[in-house]
């Protein structure tokens, strides 16, 4: 998806707007303001996927298994996840783990039609309770943002994790 349009160079208006958008998104997610993120930054048409990966020989590519996911979310299921975390019984995140999103290597492509393709590297640094060793999740995000009523919203997110065996106790978090 990214690469078929025109690369928006660092410093251009679109690039700056997207980087700012990504910083705001990370802040909302780190601050547990998930509903604000969902309602303010995510499109109703969103497709949000974390595909499952296997170890395979180099000749067979990156090992992502077609049609198989850790998460495969629509707006409705994201809404359900946000609502769950808001109940008094979401033990997995109460007390919440501390999550920090580090977003780097942002590349923006103007796809036309009010859409921007964004590739970024993501490092999630997660600690819980008295843990001193963090749980780390790293990967690449491939996003499409669409301008809806003047505001950029997340239309497509694919999170390509580096791990085949996931080393965190659950995926109650958002990437």
């Amino acid at each position: 998806m990214v690469g078929t349009g025109v690369r928006a160079r660092a410093g251009s208006a679109l690039y700056n707007e997207v980087v700012d958008w990504m910083d705001v998104e990370a802040e909302l997610l780190d601050d547990y303001r998930e509903r604000e993120w969902l309602e303010g930054m995510v499109s109703r048409d969103v497709v949000y996927q974390v595909p499952l990966r296997q170890t395979v020989e180099r000749a067979r590519g990156t090992g992502f298994v077609p049609g198989t996911f850790h998460l495969d979310e629509s707006y409705g299921s994201l809404q359900s996840r946000v609502a769950r975390n808001e109940t008094a019984y979401a033990w997995a995140e109460d007390p919440p783990s501390r999550i920090r999103h580090f977003v780097t290597n942002v590349k923006v492509t103007d796809l036309g039609g009010e859409q921007a393709g964004v590739r970024s590297n993501l490092l999630i640094y997660r600690t819980r309770q008295e843990q001193t060793q963090p749980q780390l999740l790293s990967g690449e995000r491939r996003d499409v943002l669409r301008r809806e009523d003047g505001v950029l919203r997340l239309l497509r997110r694919e999170v390509l994790l580096d791990l085949t065996v996931i080393g965190t106790h659950n995926l109650s978090i958002f990437f």
Binding site: L52, V56, L71, S74, Q79, S80, Y89, A92, I166, H169
Partner: protein, 452 residues
């Protein structure tokens, strides 16, 4: 006396009173013994045949902590090969799955076919001329058997046949996997994740811990993911199918209950369920069941129930997951999670079931993400010195005589010991009784596999 011996004696003696020493969830010596006495001997689930349908298809799986290649050879036969070259012990299978005609060791090039036979090595005549290839193939498990396409293997040549090992549990596997002529298939590849818990917490939970739903999983009702209210869902049967193997059905007290039938699978799929392979009793139990949750000793669990990942837009539908709780050191478990569908479901139905499963019983699912939370601290308590010094025992008394409302069912039509209402922990006591027997059995001898 070794600590593990003491813990096992305490377990064997205490389980009848509903007492389990917590040290079995955290003691290193116990864990080391489990790898040999449980995983080195029992029939262990590895794969479903639908994952390796074509000749040359393989998947890399585990018995205990060891890797085994599960591969279909050129004649269509399934072999389970120890992933270690006979020359220097190097891993020969370097992908989690694939299709191949041979496995070649990256160190010196010893090459094996899909039966595990050694077929050559570079400059064979110079290096090994005169040495027979026979006897130098990959090591094989003692025996491999399939049941409804579920591939099991054992490392113990003295193990009973798989059907004898499954005992009464076979009847209940028939009831789910033999409902129609098509059977099930796996969607995609297994999800794998590691958590800081002991493997037995998974087996314990899936043996029939329904009572935890009301507290730990209360959020799923608040978001409408599961259609049967907690109190109603406690109605049903707890069954000790045979020593070690336990399961549980959620079932309404009356047959004309309007709720989900056949675990919530769509009506047109349920219309293909019949008595060609199973009895009228088995079909009737499946029809009336809203939930089936089961554990095949030691670490293979099965769950079928109606769920949705998005209650506002999609009604609950039948979801089936199978999983293994792979030991990964005393304080870690690697969870392998597969989603299954009946082969004759439409692509849309399969997709719906997959999404509903993923949104509820996976590491990002509304149900499962809470499950791992308490298991982490069970294992911490299991390692605790205080627990040892304070003679801390876990309470598994629910449903024992005088405790709660569960009653043994005298006229249960299936094998094993059944209780009505699921306020009952005999299913777990059955797990730990057999566990203690296996752990203490002498090599070559087997505990009783029936209750008689």
């Amino acid at each position: 006396m070794a600590r593990s011996e003491q813990l096992l004696d305490d377990l064997a003696e205490g389980v009848a009173r509903g007492e389990v020493p917590v040290g079995i969830f955290g003691d290193q010596e116990i864990y080391d013994r489990e790898l040999r006495s449980i995983f080195g001997r029992c029939w262990v689930y590895l794969a479903h045949e639908s994952e390796i349908e074509a000749k040359g298809d393989y998947v890399l799986r585990k018995i205990g902590e060891d890797n085994f290649i599960v591969v279909r050879d050129e004649q269509g036969e399934i072999h389970v090969l120890f992933d270690a070259c006979r020359h220097r012990g190097v891993q020969v299978c370097r992908s989690d799955s694939g299709n191949t005609s041979h496995f070649r060791c990256p160190y010196h090039g010893w090459t094996y076919n899909t039966k595990g036979d050694l077929v050559g090595a570079p400059l064979w005549r110079n290096a090994f001329g005169g040495m027979p290839k026979e006897g130098n193939g990959l090591s094989k498990v003692a025996r491999v058997r399939s049941y409804h396409g579920l591939v099991f293997a054992t490392l113990d040549p003295t193990a009973p046949e798989l059907e004898e090992y499954l005992g009464g549990m076979a009847w209940y596997l028939d009831l789910l996997f033999g409902l129609n002529e098509h059977g099930i298939e796996i969607i995609g590849a297994p999800q794998r994740f590691v958590i800081d818990a002991n493997w037995k917490s998974g087996s314990d939970n899936f043996s029939g811990d329904d009572y935890h739903l009301g507290t730990l999983h209360r959020s799923v009702w608040e978001i409408g993911a599961f259609p049967v209210p907690f109190r109603e869902n406690m109605m049903g049967y707890h069954i000790q199918a045979s020593p070690g193997h336990s399961l549980s059905f959620s079932m309404a007290p009356t047959e004309d209950e309007p709720g989900p039938k056949f675990f919530g699978f769509p009506d047109d799929v349920a219309a293909t369920f019949d008595t060609s392979r199973i009895s009228e009793h088995q079909l009737d139990i499946a029809r009336r069941s809203r939930v089936m949750v089961a554990n095949v000793f030691p670490n293979f669990s099965i769950l079928a129930l109606p769920m949705t990942e998005d209650g506002a837009h999609h009604p609950p539908t039948g979801v089936m997951t199978i999983r293994t709780w792979q030991p990964h050191g005393v304080g870690q478990v690697e969870i392998w999670n597969w989603f299954c569908v009946y082969k004759n479901m439409t692509p849309e139905q399969k997709d719906r079931a997959y999404r509903a499963g993923l949104g509820t019983f996976s590491m990002g699912g509304a149900f499962e993400m809470d499950d791992t939370e308490p298991w982490i601290t069970v294992s911490r308590t299991g390692r605790s010195v205080a627990a040892d010094l304070l003679d801390f025992k876990l309470n598994y008394q629910m449903g024992m005589p005088g405790v709660g409302i569960a009653k043994e069912v005298p006229d249960w039509p299936g094998p094993g010991i059944a209780y009505w209402t699921r306020y009952e922990e005999g299913v777990q006591r059955n797990l730990y009784r057999f566990y203690a027997d296996m752990m203490r059995a002498e090599p070559g001898s087997w505990p009783k596999l029936t209750f008689e």
